[in-house]
Amino acid sequence: MNYPVVKGAGYALIQASGMLVHYGTTQTTEGRVNPESEHLQKLPGHLRSFEAAVKYPPNQTYIGNITPDGLSNIPRPWYENPINDADRNGKYGEIMPEDEFIGLMKIVDIFDLVVLEEKFQASVKEKLAAHPILAGINKFENMDKNISAIDEIKKMTDEHLALPLYFEGKLVGCVKKAHEFDDALSAHVMFENLVAKASAVFALKLLLAKSGLDKEDIDYIIECSEEACGDMNQRGGGNFAKSIGEICGCINATGSDTRSFCAGPAHALVEAAALVQAGVYKNVVVLAGGCTAKLGMNSKEHVKKGMPALEDMLGAFAVHIGENDGINPVIRTDAVGRHRIGSGASPQAVMTAIVTDPLDGIGYKITDVDRYAPEMQNPEITEPAGAGDVPQANYKMIAALAVKRGEIAKADMLNTVSSFGMPGFAPTQGHIPSGVPFIGPARDMILSGKINRAMVIGKGSLFLGRLTNLFDGVSFLIEKNPGTIDTGFDKELVRKMIGEAMSDFAKSFSAE
C-alpha cells in the first residue's frame, strides 16, 4: 500500500502588539465593561519589542531554529533567557514585525479595504520590496494604490466606517467595512479575515520557498483556521483557501475550508492524506492563518504577575502532503484516531478514542510511539492564567492510560512522560498549537533516524459554538517511510506466474 507522505512544512509568526491592545477580545471586553480599567492602562507597559519576540526561545522553536528538545534544555522563564544571536529567519519559517504585516494585509486585499497613511505605506513598501520571499508577490502593485492622509483615515474611523490600524501606538491606517449594512462584511469581520488571509499567504510563501515545492504543482488547498468568510446570506460560505492560493500563484489549485475549532488542522490533514492516497490529487497543502481575537487572551494575568504580554504573536502554518516518494515520512491512514459522537466527553473517553483506539487497530502499544504532539501551547503563557501546562497534562493522561492498560508500571509514569513528551512552544492561537507545530520537527527527526514515529493530536471545544456540548479530537500517526513504492500492477510478475502455471500444467499433462 502507498501511504501519502509529509513533504514539507512552513511556519510563520507575526508580532502584532497593536492588534493585541486594540482587538484582542480580553481587551475589547474589558474596554466595554470597564473603560477605566487598570489592566488597559498597565498593558502598554508590558508589551515587548520585536527584537525581544525574535529572541524568545519558543518563537525560535516554532520557526525551526531550535528543536523542541533543545528548548527543554533552556531554563525558564524563557522570556528572561533570550537567545541573543537569534535571527528572524528560521529553518521552516520566519518572524515578521507588525508594520510589514500591515503592508502584507494591503497586498492581499483585493477590494481596496485596507487604507494606509502615505509615509507608512511608502516605508513598508520599501521593506516588503526587499523581502526575499514576498518581493514580487502577486498584487504587490496594491502598495501603490489608495494612498491616504492621516486626517482622512481618522475621519473614516471616527465615523465608524473603518477600523483603525496602529503601529507602535500610532494610527497608520484602517480597514474599511465592505458593505453598508451587512454585519458579515463589517470592518471588524473584514479585518479579522484579512489578517487570517495575509498570515496564511505568508506561511504558504514560506513553505514554497523552504521546501522547493512549485506553486503550480499544488492541486488542492485546505484552509483550516477558525474564521468565517461570507456575507449576510451565507455567513461562512468560504473560501479562504482559493483566495490564499490566488495570491501565491497556485493557478492549478482549487480548494476549500474545513472547520472544527482547534481540531480543524488535524481533520484537514487527514482529508489531505485521503485525497492523495486515493489518487484524486497529487499535491495538497493544508494551511491556516492567525487569529487577532486571541491576542493577549491571558494578558490580564501576565500583567498582574509582572510578565511581558507574551501573547503578541499571530501564528500560521502550511503543510505539504504528497504521493509516496519512498523517502519522506508516511501518514498511516489506517491508524486515524477520531472522537466519535458516541465516545463520551470525559478526558478519559476522549483520550481512549483518539490515542489508544487507533493504536489498537494496527497492533501498537502507547510506548511504541516515540513522540506525541497534542496541543503544544507554550506553558509560560497558560500557567500564570491557571490553565496549567497543557502538553504536560496531555502526556500525563496518555501515560495514565498506559498504566491502566498495564503497559507500564505506575511508578514509571513520569519517566514515560519525559520519554515521549516535549515542551509546548506554540502561541495560544487555538488551531495553531493543535499538534501541527511538531510536523516540521517530526519530519526531520524521522528522516535523520532519531525517531521512528510520532502521533499528531488535534482537539476542539465544539461546545463554544453553542450548537452541541460535544468535544472533538482527531489524531494520526507519522511514521518512517519503509523506503518502497508500491507500483501496483506488475506485468513482469504476472507474466512469470502465468509461465510457471503453464509449465506446471504441461508437466501434469505429460505425466498422465
Partner: protein, 100 residues
C-alpha cells in the same frame, strides 16, 4: 469562570434557590477550580461576568470529593485516569476554602 456558565448558574439559582443546589466542578487545576468556587459563592473576583458583585452563596465541590457518591464502574471509566494525572489534594483543598 466562563461568562456563559456564570449566567446559567445565576439563572438556575434564581429558579431553584440556593438551599438545594450545589455546583460540581471538574477543573484540572487548583487555582482555576478555586476561582470557580469563589465565583459561585462570593462573586466573580475578576469582575468580568454576570456574577460580578453577586454573592450567590452556593457550595462548590470538585468531582474528586464525590467519589463515594458515584457508581464505582462509572467513576473508573470516566475519572480514574485523571486521578492519576492531577494533584487531587491541592485542588480539593483550594475548593474547600470557599465552603467555609
Amino acid at each position: 469562570m466562563d461568562l456563559e456558565n456564570q449566567a446559567r448558574i445565576k439563572e438556575l439559582t434564581e429558579k431553584y434557590g440556593k438551599d438545594d443546589l450545589i455546583v460540581v466542578l471538574g477543573g484540572a487545576e487548583a487555582e482555576a477550580s478555586g476561582l470557580a468556587a469563589e465565583t459561585v459563592s462570593t462573586g466573580d473576583p475578576t469582575f468580568a461576568g454576570p456574577l460580578s458583585g453577586v454573592s450567590l452563596g452556593l457550595k462548590a465541590y470538585h468531582v474528586f470529593e464525590l467519589k463515594d457518591q458515584v457508581n464505582a464502574d462509572v467513576y473508573d471509566e470516566q475519572i480514574s485516569m485523571m486521578e492519576m494525572v492531577l494533584d487531587i489534594d491541592e485542588i480539593v483543598n483550594e475548593v474547600k476554602t470557599y465552603r467555609k
